[in-house]
């Protein structure tokens, strides 16, 4: 056995440049695979963080008619109680009751149409992490003369306002009358989605309910669940529990994000398959060439009584050693690459424009340790499979004929 591996090992280095070439191909293949996987994961994570974690949440509940007509009269009856009921469930982390109305926001020289979200600041902080997104000013801590509003950076730029400046919100009350009220910008939040920043402002639900003339109106409940992968299951459960509410999960709410992640995942799998196939065929070709060059030698081995199974394992061992060298070296280099790029970030070409659509312009690839081993194991398995055909060719040699060949 030891000698068998020794022979395999030395055979690999008989044609040094050929082996180095195929080992390099394995290393580059692995790095390519790891790179695309890590970028995909980074993109997915970043989009998920931005869109789902910070904006949409996993599941939302509304009055069925609110979706077509986002007006206060289509609210969820007993919304505050439902939200606190939901928060107590084991499969739900937190549920934030909101009062959402459309309105106008105006500074002294500009105005803009916005969605006004009346929230419970403490619950909202746990739901969308809004508090952590505030980059200037503070988050509903001041008890000033004017009620607080938290607006997006992009909206602040547009309105020429800043933390501390005064803005006027105009909206319809329950009777359909237009009412205006002054607010003080307490904080500015930042997201990678500029359009969300421009469109959405947050105020205390109690302030909003006071303006529209009703108490405790809840038009939207945003739900964060314990296990994000279970979003469909939990949404179904909630639909059953609250038949009067329209329950939608994030894939319903953000179909384009859902499909882009799906397509991305699909594309990644194909990229990996193509890389692994290409490397395997290269390996197959290399080993096959070395078999054809060694017909006489293999014939002699079979003639003197080396069993076909041993010759077979010798060739499989050769391939496996090559794959292992390439695999291990490739893993270390991929790991180094991800560590490096994870720190410096990978700028997306033309990335500044992407920010407006909710995409980050720089991605920070990272990868779970398990993935490295998964891809390496798959590669080694394919390499061993690639050796089966050449090895089979070798053991089908008839020793009497093989030793005759010149």
């Amino acid at each position: 056995m030891k000698t068998l591996i020794k022979i395999s090992w030395r055979n690999i280095w008989r044609n040094r440049s050929r082996s180095v070439t195929i080992i390099s191909a394995i290393i580059l293949g692995l790095m390519g695979g790891v790179f695309s996987a890590s970028m995909r994961l980074a993109l997915e994570q970043q989009q998920f963080e931005d869109t789902i974690d910070n904006q949409v949440s996993h599941i939302q509940l509304h009055h069925p008619d609110f979706i077509a007509n986002p007006e206060a009269r289509y609210h969820i009856g007993g919304g505050v109680e439902i939200a606190s009921e939901l928060s107590k469930r084991d499969d739900i982390t937190v549920a934030s009751p909101r009062t959402v109305v459309d309105g106008m926001i105006a500074s002294s020289n500009m105005n803009s149409g916005v969605t006004i979200k009346g929230i419970n600041p403490e619950i909202e902080a746990r739901t969308t992490g809004l508090e952590d997104l505030v980059t200037e000013g503070t988050y509903f801590t001041e008890k000033g003369r004017l009620p607080s509003v938290i607006i997006g950076q992009a909206l602040a730029n547009k309105l020429n306002s800043y933390a501390g400046s005064r803005l006027v919100l105009t909206l319809q009350d329950v009777d359909g009358e237009m009412v205006s009220s002054s607010f003080r910008v307490e904080g500015l939040y930042k997201l990678s989605s500029k359009s969300f920043e421009e469109r959405t402002v947050f105020i205390n639900a109690s302030d909003l309910n006071r303006i529209i003339g009703d108490n405790d109106i809840v038009t939207e409940i945003a739900v964060v669940i314990e296990n994000p992968d279970d979003y469909r299951k939990v949404a179904e459960i909630l639909s059953g529990l609250y038949p009067n509410a329209k329950v939608r999960h994030w894939a319903d709410l953000q179909p384009s994000l859902y499909y882009s992640l799906e397509v991305l995942g699909e594309a990644l799998i194909w990229i990996l398959i193509i890389i692994i196939m290409a490397v395997s065929f290269g390996l197959l070709n290399t080993i096959l060439m070395s078999i054809l060059e060694r017909v006489r030698e293999l014939g002699v081995l079979l003639a003197v009584g080396m069993k076909r199974a041993k010759v077979f394992s010798m060739i499989v061992a050769e391939t496996t050693i090559i794959a292992l060298i390439g695999g291990i070296a490739g893993l270390f280099m991929s790991w180094g690459m991800i560590r490096f790029l994870g720190n410096t970030g990978v700028p997306i070409p033309g990335g500044e424009g992407l920010e407006d659509f909710g995409y980050a312009s720089v991605l920070y690839p990272r990868l779970e340790t398990a993935f490295y081993f998964e891809i390496a194991i798959v590669l080694v398995i394919f390499a061993i499979l690639a050796s089966v055909y050449p090895a089979w060719k070798a053991i089908r040699l008839q020793p009497a004929e093989a030793v005759r060949q010149e």
Binding site: E297, K307, R404
Partner: protein
Amino acid sequence: MKTVIKTTNLSKVYSGTAVPVHALKNVNLEFKQGEFTAIVGPSGSGKTTFLNVIGGLDKPTGGHVVIDGVDIATMKESQLFDFRLRHIGFVFQAYNLIPVLTAVENVSFIMLLQNRPKAEMEQRAKEMLEQVGLADKLDVRPGKLSGGQQQRVAVARALASRPDFVLADEPTANLDTESAFNLLDIMARLNREENITLIFSTHDQRVIERARRVITLVDGAVASDEYFDRETSGEENGQTGQVMTATL
């Protein structure tokens, strides 16, 4: 003297070709323990075919090969592998050695496949390389050896495992005269000292006279089978031997 190999009505027809080739025709031969035999004949006369068939590398299309009382035609493929490994030593015309192994590793190789103890294996391999005059080349790989030296390593390997007999197909064909004589002398000496039955083929008149028995094949049939008494076999040139028997 014990009979090691016995063939009866041995024939081999290659039928893969346009016209079937009768490479062996009713060959009846017996080889006894310790014999040193040359199979001679022009190219295409069936020497290689004969050695392949008695060596279990190829199946005859007619007749029998009985080795130590066992008809090898009845053996399964896997049994033949084992039989070759345990009972037969092979030397081919060229490319005998594993290029990536040193001389001593090559000589040990058959014993290794036989699972012999490591210490015994190494000692025997060194001893055999000394016997063939390569004591100073133990750790040299075949690529760094001359053609004659490579064939001597091959002979050392074939004999190291103490097989019942050794088959050498044109072992000197690629060698210059001096190396060819040298190799044959070594084979002859090992044949005497180790009492190993040795059969080699050649179409080279120069080396035929080293053998004590010369079988001539013509068109796949035995044309003559002669015994010579060579007391000083191998140590000098020229046909000094005297014909003891001649059969036809």
